[in-house]
């Protein structure tokens, strides 16, 4: 149905505008155009602003939003094909506009629903009156894989089971909003909603500021404050519990941890001592009292829940029994996501709240009851049939659900038989038709199906609803199955339009608010371990690149690979497992991958710029790997890589806050550089080193100029040792590294206690003192190798003190 010739407000009928070309789907409500054919509030301003900008400018604006997302490193992970598949976040640039009056209905309905869900879960894990009064069939609980028996009778420390929920909404054919699903287990996406907002407003800032759009920050502030208040009451830290970097929404966990200022923790960061959850930090064990869980509940404790969980913390259930920790949400709350439960919600609302649901759910018939089963069998063709105990939203479950009419004829009888004999495991649901909203495709607006994800958080004043959220947009018109982003759908920002100016909120402390500083001792040991290794890998890359550059430059100039100094260099590289006959050795690529992997484990501690610099390095190296030729070409490539490494180091040096995290990164770099320098100097100043060794050594040590300035003599082994090992002022010398190491180690937690140095601090100081008083002539190859070994011992002492 083409609905052209529409007048919007008092605008003159211009040339056919974006709205004139917008085609609605028969019988399907639309978010921009109301059933009477009028443009809904807010949309005309938005679309006419688009028209004023014109297609070129609009494309440039949208590219700006995409650029922001790329720069911020907003990704999601897909599971099709290769491991580590990170895809750019698929933003649909047109926000979904909703009027405040309509939003009020949603807000009101979701508050009621959150309240009801809390009542239901409290009964399921408490007195079970719903079953004994005949309101919930016992099978629905006793056969439910989400029902966690060890949690029965465990009262939440906060007094509540639910603190943060998400709801998937859709607008039904009658124009009202429906709840398609409740997400109570570990709802994801709140961070993505924030990023959608930032990206969209980058592109459309003046439009956004010209309309009264509700801000999102107030919602997060209220939730953060509520969580911090819980943490304070239970006297411990607040953390986000993540399954780790291989989870599809790990980026979001890191992002939201940074945004709210919570620690990002994995199961192995935690240990339970005397019923109290503690985080292993570089300053020892510290109590944790609130965990915002982004991990499915059964994985949280391998001792009492899933025995095969490798990401959990043994004893967590014990800590919950002792009420020393608050879990958001309580373990076991996933039972509320059970598909068949939808059939009982209207009845439960009347039971608990003495009223009907303000927002209806999908009509659902559980086939465990005779009358309902018969209804489904009688209306088989028009029913969506699916698993009763599934927690996947029906829309996201094309493989697990089917419209009766679409079941192949030869399978119908078997399915009907299963419904009849094993009805407990099946539901029939009405077919969901979603409303459409515009997306911008090739200069035109197209109608696509949408759902709305909205978040609710418990505060001390009750449930608060995020004024916005994110909309999921189908990849093709009419194809509701394509909503999932795993299958090519998109996400859009949601703007709630107010009729009056809105409050502008920021998460920065306001006047009169007390500033809370995080203490350096909060650095989890695992993060410190990753930081030290990141530092070491980066430095290892740099030293390898420098040697390869020096090697290839000589290869190009001398064009005889058998020259002794080249053979000697190949031998050295071989001793560190680098094959110099490869123009870009595999070992170098591996070191870069390892650096990226270590950084990926601690993404919450990185600025987006740092992460970008590192992934850029990895991409460049991989691109070069296939096509670099030995000699000149390799020399140039190494210079490129060196520049990118310097870029990353520069960002770290200039931008990273001098917290314990930075110290560990720095320690890793200094240790690796000192060890590498001691080993290379030993190798190139040994009695059997060929001609040209000292020159190449100075080049590897980036000290050719310094040598020229510092010594009047031509380069010899003694002056090289003096400059690269013993020179206080040369940032490449071993002594320089030891000065830094000593200083940093003493500043670590426990570095100096009651005037006593820690074993690592003592070791660093001893090595430092030895070098300060030494003469170049003392440094035989043996002495230098021993120095390198001592430095490795220092690394072990640090690991023993801070990472175990």
């Amino acid at each position: 149905m083409d609905i052209g010739n529409r007048r919007t407000g008092d605008e003159p009928p211009a040339a056919r505008g974006l709205i004139d070309d917008y085609t609605l789907m028969e019988g399907i409500p639309d978010e921009m155009i109301d059933p009477a054919g009028n443009v809904r509030p807010g949309w005309s301003a938005l679309i006419s602003a688009f028209e004023d900008l014109g297609p070129e400018e609009l494309s440039a604006r949208f590219e700006r939003a995409d650029q922001y997302l790329r720069d911020a490193g907003v990704f999601y992970r897909t599971y099709d094909g290769a491991e580590g598949n990170e895809r750019p976040w698929p933003l649909s640039h047109i926000p979904l506009l909703l009027d405040e009056s309509e939003w009020m209905l949603i807000t009101h309905g979701l508050r009621q629903r959150a309240q009801l869900l809390e009542n239901v879960v409290a009964d399921i894990y408490g007195e079970n009156t719903l079953v004994s009064q005949g309101l919930l069939p016992p099978e629905l609980i006793a056969r439910n894989p989400e029902f966690l028996r060890p949690m029965v009778g465990v009262k939440p420390a906060s007094g509540h089971y639910l603190h943060f929920c998400a709801f998937e909404l859709g607008r039904g054919p009658d124009g009202t909003w429906w709840v398609l699903g409740d997400r109570t287990q570990a709802p994801s996406g709140a961070g993505f909603a924030l990023e959608n907002r930032v990206a969209t407003t980058r592109a459309l800032s003046e439009i956004y500021n010209g309309m009264n759009i509700h801000r999102l920050a107030g919602f997060f502030r209220d939730f953060r404050d509520a969580v911090l208040a819980q943490g304070k009451r239970l006297e411990g830290r607040v953390g986000i519990l993540t399954p780790g970097q291989h989870n599809e929404t790990y980026f979001e966990h890191a992002y939201i941890a940074r945004y709210l200022g919570f620690m990002l923790l994995e199961g192995e960061d935690l240990v339970v001592e005397e019923g109290q959850v503690m985080v292993r930090t570089v300053a020892g064990l510290r109590p944790v009292s609130v965990l915002w869980r982004r991990m499915d509940d059964s994985f949280v404790d391998p001792l009492e829940l899933r025995y095969d969980s490798r990401i959990g913390t043994p004893g967590m259930v014990e800590a919950l029994r002792q009420q020393s920790i608050s879990m958001i949400n309580a373990l076991g709350s996933g039972v509320l996501e059970t598909r068949a439960l939808a059939a009982f919600m209207p009845r439960l609302a009347r039971h608990f709240l003495d009223t009907d649901l303000e927002l209806p759910g999908i009509a659902t018939w559980w086939c465990g009851q005779p009358a309902e089963r018969q209804h489904v069998l009688d209306n088989f063709d028009t029913m969506v049939l699916g698993q009763a105990f599934s927690t996947t939203l029906p829309l996201d479950d094309p493989r697990g659900t089917a419209l009766g009419a679409d079941v192949p004829d030869d399978q119908k009888a078997a399915l009907r038989e299963r419904l009849a004999t094993n009805g407990v495991y099946y539901v029939g649901q009405e077919l969901v038709r979603l409303s459409t909203a515009p997306v911008y495709v090739d200069g035109r607006l197209e109608a696509r199906p949408i759902t709305l994800r909205v978040y609710a958080a418990r505060t001390e004043h009750g449930w608060t609803i995020m004024p916005g959220g994110f909309a999921r947009v189908g990849s093709a018109s009419g194809d509701t199955a394509a909503l999932s982003m795993q299958r090519g759908g998109q996400a859009a920002d949601v703007w709630v339009i107010s009729s009056s100016p809105v409050e502008r909120v920021s998460l920065l402390p306001q006047d009169g608010e007390r500033l809370v500083r995080n203490q350096p001792g909060n650095l989890p040991s695992r993060a410190a371990d990753n930081l030290i290794w990141l530092g070491r890998y980066i430095e290892r890359c740099e030293s390898t690149v420098r040697i390869l550059r020096a090697y290839n430059a000589r290869l190009a100039e001398l064009s005889n690979p058998q020259l002794p100094v080249l053979v000697h260099t190949r031998d050295y590289l071989e001793s560190v497992d680098v094959d110099a006959t490869e123009p870009l050795p595999t070992a170098l690529l591996q070191a870069i991958d390892s650096a990226v992997f270590s950084a990926g484990q601690i993404r919450d501690r990185f600025s987006p710029d740092g992460w970008l610099a590192l992934s850029d390095l990895q991409k460049s190296a991989r691109r070069l790997a296939g096509r670099v030729r030995a000699g000149d070409d390799a020399t140039r490539s190494m210079t490129v890589l060196l520049r990118k490494l310097a870029g990353f180091s520069g960002l770290v040096h200039e931008n990273m806050y001098r917290f314990a995290g930075w110290r560990f990164l720095e320690l890793g770099r200094r240790l690796e550089r000192a060890i590498h320098m001691a080993r290379t100097v030993a190798f190139y100043t040994s009695p059997d080193a060929p001609d040209g060794s000292v020159e190449i050594l100075l080049e590897i040590g980036d000290s050719v100029m310094s040598h020229r300035r510092r010594y009047s003599v031509s380069a010899g082994a003694q002056s090289a040792i003096d400059l690269l090992v013993l020179d206080q002022l040369n940032p490449r010398s071993v002594l320089f590294q030891l000065t830094e190491l000593s200083e940093q180690i003493e500043a670590l937690p426990g570095g100096v206690e009651d005037g006593q140095l820690s074993p690592a601090a003592r070791c660093a100081l001893q090595l430092h003192t030895q070098l300060v008083v030494a003469e170049p002539a003392e440094f035989t190859q043996e002495r230098l190798d021993a120095l390198a070994d001592d430095l490795s011992t220092l690394a072990d002492l640090l690991a023993a003190a801070y990472f175990t």
Binding site: N128, V131, E139, R143, L303, E318
Partner: protein, 292 residues
């Protein structure tokens, strides 16, 4: 009947283990109407840094221990005196399978003892159509649910060989079904799997058997180790009845119960998380002496 029970579990580690957290479920508890625990003590060596007791969901006694100091072995010793009532198997008052479905639909409870917990797949016993078909022969041959359970119990005993070498603690019911051999744990899982497939609630019981048989009776299989059998819900009138498929008998008098769950995973003697890469060996010894 009065029994003295001694149990010793021994674990050796390849290398010293630094810290470990375990849940131990070996201590019998009193069950009104069937057994009464007069005295019981559980000791661990090395002595745990932290130890405490609680009842799990099914009411089983759990001892939670934390071993902080490095250790190369772990010993768990139980001594208990238990009075067991010799419940003479009552007359068969159980319904037909249709009657059982009626009883279930009238049973509005999810208390830990409710039969509804014992019908679905559980961690160690996934429902299996072939095992269900095997069990269906017992259903077709029997007039009641209890008779079905007894028939299946006897058929497992007749058709499966007792062979401690054939399976281990990780073996699933399907594997044992195909091997046609196993030990008490396998037979119990098989029977549970078959009964649940038919819609009959069935659970796993862990416990002990008297070591020496009464005069003139054969020594029961599995008496020198911890034992396992099956509890079956036989309708509202009879409730739970216990069957021992390893010995093709009803479990009464000679059987001392530690506890029950949906399958082995709910009531395994020790669950532990050890910080070690080395595998560990285990030995166990059981003595159950009748005193009266």
């Amino acid at each position: 009947m009065l029994y003295d029970i001694r149990l010793e579990l021994h674990y050796d580690y390849d290398a010293p283990v630094s810290g470990g957290r375990h849940l131990i479920r070996v201590q019998p508890i009193s069950r009104p109407g069937s057994q009464r625990v007069i005295a019981a003590s559980l000791r661990c060596d090395p002595a745990p840094s932290v130890e405490h007791r609680y009842d799990d969901y099914f009411g089983n006694a759990v001892t939670s221990i934390v071993l902080r100091e490095p250790h190369e072995s772990l010993d768990i010793r139980l001594a208990a005196r238990v009075q067991v009532d010799d419940l003479h198997p009552p007359a068969d008052l159980s319904p037909t399978i249709e009657g059982l479905q009626q009883d279930l639909s009238r049973h509005w409870s999810v208390s830990p003892d409710s039969p509804h917990h014992f019908l679905a797949s559980s961690p160690r016993v996934p429902l299996d159509t072939e095992i269900t078909e095997f069990a269906r022969a017992s259903l077709d041959a029997s007039p009641s649910v209890r008779a079905t359970a007894m028939d299946l119990c006897k058929r497992i005993n007749a058709e499966f060989a007792y062979d401690p070498e054939a399976t281990d603690v990780e073996t699933g019911p399907r594997e044992a079904f195909l091997l046609k051999k196993g030990v008490c744990q396998d037979f119990a899982h098989l029977m549970i799997c078959g009964l649940r497939g038919l819609g009959i609630p069935a659970g796993y019981v862990s416990g002990f058997l008297r070591t020496n048989p009464p005069p003139g009776k054969p020594r029961l299989e599995g008496a020198d180790a911890m034992h396992a059998w099956v509890r079956v819900w036989c309708g509202l009138d009879m409730g739970w009845q216990a069957f021992d498929p390893t010995n093709a008998i009803e479990a009464a008098g000679d059987h001392i119960e530690i506890g029950y769950g949906r399958d082995y995973a709910d009531i395994s003697p020790i669950v532990g998380v050890l910080k070690t890469s080395g595998s560990h060996a285990t030995r166990q010894s059981v003595d159950v002496i009748r005193l009266d």
